[in-house]
Structure formats: C-alpha cells, structure tokens
C-alpha cells in the first residue's frame, strides 16, 4: 500500500527549511527530501515525532495513496 504525506505542506506552513526540519526531527536533510518526494516510508517512531511536532494526528500527515484527500 503506497503511503503519501503532507510533510512539505506542513513544513512550509511553519516556514521551516528542509535542513531545519531535519534538525528538529533528529534526522538528515536527505531523509526529509525522500519523505517529501514519497520515496521513503518513515518508521513509526519518526512518523509519530513528525505528528507530534506539528501537533496533529499521525493520519493527518501520513495517509494511504488510495484514500481520497
């Protein structure tokens, strides 16, 4: 099941660069880029950290590609 995400939208709404986002989440910039481009499905721990940072439920950030947006 392909996974999609709204990381880029949420990050840009907060005015964070990819490098800043990576530092906040404790990962690398390449990882942020890969997640935003839907090339990398993060582990559950990272998905929860992302949701926690933006103060939204996990399924508001990550969702199935089959779901209607």
């Amino acid at each position: 099941m392909p996974l999609r995400n709204r990381l880029k939208v949420l990050r840009e709404a907060e005015g964070l660069s990819q490098q800043e986002m990576a530092k906040v989440l404790g990962i690398t910039r390449q990882t942020v880029i890969s997640i935003e481009n839907n090339h990398f499905d993060p582990r559950l721990s990272l998905a929860f950290r992302v949701a926690e940072h933006f103060n939204v439920p996990v399924d508001e950030v990550f969702y199935s590609a089959d779901d209607n947006e």
Binding site: L25, G26, I27, S34, N37, H39, R49
Partner: protein, 136 residues
Amino acid sequence: MQLAIQDKKARWAMAGAIGLVLAAGLGLIAGLTRDNFWLSFTVFTVVMAPALVALSAMVLGEGQGSEPAYAEDTIETHWARVAGLGAFLDLVIAMGLSVAAASILHLPSIPLVFFLLLAMSDFAMRLWRLSRQGGQ
C-alpha cells in the same frame, strides 16, 4: 571513556602519530613472520597507515556531533541495511557456487580474499546506486 580532542589540528596530529605507530607495529609483526623483513615491514606499514590514522582520528572525536539524533530513522541507515542484506545474499550465492564448482570440477578453492573484495565492492556499489536513486 572520553578521548575526544576538541582542536581539529591537534586531533589529526595525534591521530597521525598514533596511526603511524600502530601501522609500524603491525609492519614489525608482519616483517618478523616473513623472510624479507624490510620489504614486508614497509609494505604492511604503508598499506595499514591510512586506515589506522583515520581510525585513530575517529576514536579521538573526528566526525562526532555531526550525526543526527535519530540516525536509525534516516534513509542513509535504510540504504545501508538494504545494501548490506543484498551484498550478504550475493556473497552466500557466490561462495556456494564456487564451492560447488570446485568440488565437482576438482579445482583449487578460490582464496577468501576474493570473497572479501566481492562483498565490499558489492556493498559499495549497492549503496552508491541506492543513494543515486534517492529512494527505497
């Protein structure tokens, strides 16, 4: 155990000294266990020195602090896992085929160093390909 040296120049100077001493030590052992002492000593010292200097620098703090807080969540770690698994499976297949061929054809066994080089180059190429693709 805290061995880190903060000043970069001092760190590399210390790493150079430690690395060369360790390399010379290994060269000495290699020389003493072979017929041509000076040739063996020189070759082993020169070949081992760069790796031991780099290893010493890492022990003394080179590169520390640049790694992300959750390295296990990064795509680089994912690439390393995928490349490592692929290289391991290739290694098992290559060793199995070579053992079978050597047994059936009554050929001498392939030296272990060949498989070591195969595994290392396989891992490096897989890692490079994954990083070029940028995904999983």
